[in-house]
């Protein structure tokens, strides 16, 4: 690998290292210059990357299958053996941790993401197209984040002083029940929200801020018949975005944070969204929405990300 370093020529090994994200910045630029001039090499890089995406499509489903009891028990014991000083209440949120694990292991940065098992029973929408749609959704979320965090004056349409009002209004706009999760335990408070057009119809953007006035946004959209559960991560400049589908809704959490920091918040969002909206007194007009027919309601029960299958055990 080193022989060519001086001359700037790109080696075969470096092409692989480029695809695998194992090149440092300078050499990456050299490879990119080469790829721009050599279509055959560019095709190879693209094919290698596509192979990786296919591997993820084939095997990422394992991440959502709960391990056998024995494996789980051994994991716990291993943790006990290795982390002596770790006296936090262990494994109290297993499905959540598995969510975190899955998020960390899916292919990062690509438009690909992860098509989980049971992706689409209707078979009508090509998977590639769905994936594209969700990637677009994440992009919109990222752009919306940039845009509405750039100027504090216009950051929200409706403040969070009355959360029921905010949630009710956005639910009405979207034709679905949406709510802004409580992220207080990760240090962020809801400041408000706005309704936005997206590729998937009306979307809702919730904005949160922490004490340092750092802002994150949660973008909610309604994917076409999407009952697949994708966990994907994309980094656009300084904005990191996690996105996934839970039930009838797609979520994209965006912030100028590291992947790890954002993951902590994504976990909180995931947990809250799964638990459902806070039960206050239900607003009277919140009957199941009649205004809009909802063609995509045929989500088979039981298609869930990660897995709650261990819930019984944990109680």
């Amino acid at each position: 690998m080193n022989a060519h370093q001086a001359t700037g020529r790109v080696t075969e090994d470096e092409l692989h290292a480029y695809v695998d994200g194992q090149l440092d910045g300078n050499r990456r630029l050299a490879v990119e210059r080469w790829l721009a001039e050599d279509p055959e090499a560019a095709r190879r890089a693209e094919d290698y990357r596509a192979q990786g995406l296919l591997l993820h499509e084939m095997f990422d489903a394992v991440l959502r299958e709960p391990p056998s009891d024995t494996v789980q028990e051994l994991s716990d014991r291993l943790k006990g053996r290795i982390a002596f000083n770790d006296n936090r209440p262990a494994w109290h949120a297993r499905p959540l941790v598995r969510f975190a694990a899955a998020v960390m292991l899916v292919v990062a940065g690509a438009a690909g993401g992860w098509m989980g098992r049971g992706a689409d029973q209707q078979g009508a929408a090509p998977v590639a197209q769905q994936r594209q749609t969700l990637a677009t959704f994440a992009q919109e979320a990222t752009q919306a984040h940039r845009f509405y965090t750039s100027d504090e004056r216009f950051q929200v349409e409706l403040g969070a002083d009355n959360q029921d009002e905010l949630n009710g209004w956005l639910s009405k706009r979207m034709g679905r029940d949406v709510f802004g999760p409580d992220l207080g335990r990760v240090g962020y408070r809801l400041i408000g929200g706005r309704s936005l057009p997206t590729d998937l119809g009306a979307g809702a953007q919730y904005m949160y801020a922490n004490d340092a006035n750092k802002r994150i946004t949660l973008f909610v959209g309604a994917p076409q018949g999407g009952n697949q559960s994708n966990f994907s991560f994309t980094q656009n400049g300084d904005v990191a975005t996690f996105y996934w589908v839970e039930g009838p809704l797609a979520y994209a959490l965006a912030g100028r944070l590291s992947k790890e920091e954002l993951l902590e918040i994504a976990k909180a969002v995931y947990q809250d969204v799964k638990a459902g909206p806070p039960r206050r007194e239900p607003p009277p007009e919140q009957q199941p929405q009649q205004q809009q027919p909802q063609p995509q309601q045929d989500h088979p029960p039981g298609v869930q990300p990660i897995s709650d299958t261990q819930k019984a055990k944990e109680s």
Binding site: A17, D20, Q51, L54, V71, I82, D86, L105, R117, D120
Partner: protein
Amino acid sequence: MSKFGVDLEVHIASLRRYARALLRNGADAEDLVQEALTRAVARADSFQAGTNLRAWLFTILHNVHVNQVRSKAARPQEVDVADVESKLVSPARQEERVELREMMRAVDELPEEQRKVLLLVALEGLKYDEVADMLGVPIGTVMSRLSRAREAVRAKLANEGGVTLRRVK
């Protein structure tokens, strides 16, 4: 949940995925992971805090696998392809998953040493030097196996419908 707890869970999920990709059979894969974790627990004292936990776990899994293969050498390791596919690919989606079936087949046809390197790098995201340490081969060997694996798969997919692969961007 502590950072360490999450890290460990991430590594174990990664081990399970790798084992499944390598063995293709859910039960065998879980057995392999189980055996590897049993050894890891037994040898936990030899793990040095602050060193690479993921590499340590993968190395143990690799050694267990090598031993298993050795002791099962008399028994054929083949698995029916149709059986595997039905487990891995939801049946309703098969017609649009042609490229997945082709990929599966192409990976199956790789020599095991190449298949391992491809899966460790392209699926599990291990660093080249981690793979070299784990397999006990020089890094150059890792690179040449990786290169041959990728080219073989590429040739295979190009033969059987190169256009479909283009779509997966």
